[in-house]
Amino acid sequence: MGKLTIGTFSSLVGSMSLDFAVKLAEAAVKKGHNVDFWMSGNATMLAKKGQKAFKDYSFLSKTLQEMLATGNFNITACEACAEARGYHKEDCPEGFQRKSMDWYLASTFEADRVLHIGGD
């Protein structure tokens, strides 16, 4: 089994690339791989607690919690990007981390595969 690091600089929840990134992470975790999931820019809002499911609208929180429960999934938001958007430590769901970009850099060096998804 390997380690996959996904860095996403995508748009908000509901964007195609953010949905793709989470689904790819889910598939990798299901196959027994470890996944580090990094969020920068507007993607940090994926790590805001209290998100609700609406019909025909992307809802990723449940999938993220299920992946966290496996112990093979780390999800980390860029602390500066979050703070810039008024999203503070107390807004973070349980199990989610907030770190500086050093964390992402270290993760990419340790990973077997890296996928960096740019903004949209």
Partner: protein, 98 residues
């Protein structure tokens, strides 16, 4: 180098594909990139399919856009998310997103 390219758009990125070369090149069409696998302009298939590469299209994404596997160009193989994970870990060393 064995390089996989996740191509997520239809109108942009082809120029970058043109400039890429790799010992082994895989192009995985996702999101709106799946149109490359099935759309025709002036009766012609997309030019990127002429590239020396292996082509894949994400089933969930082409089906959500109204295509079925039999509508894909014969050079393109339908894959699911699990297959994409296997491609990333087993078939290619580097992965980039376009």
């Amino acid at each position: 180098m064995k390089l996989a390219v996740l191509m997520s758009d239809y109108r942009t990125g082809s120029d970058i594909i043109d400039r890429l070369s790799a010992e082994k090149l895989g192009i995985i069409l996702v999101g709106n990139g799946v149109y490359h696998a099935a759309a025709k302009e002036d009766g012609k298939a997309c030019a990127i399919l002429d590239k020396k590469a292996e082509f894949f299209a994400l089933t969930e994404d082409f089906e959500s856009r109204g295509f079925t596997a039999d509508k894909l160009d014969s050079r393109v193989k339908a894959v699911n998310y699990s297959d994409v994970v296997d491609l990333i870990f087993n078939d290619y060393e580097k992965v980039i997103w376009l």
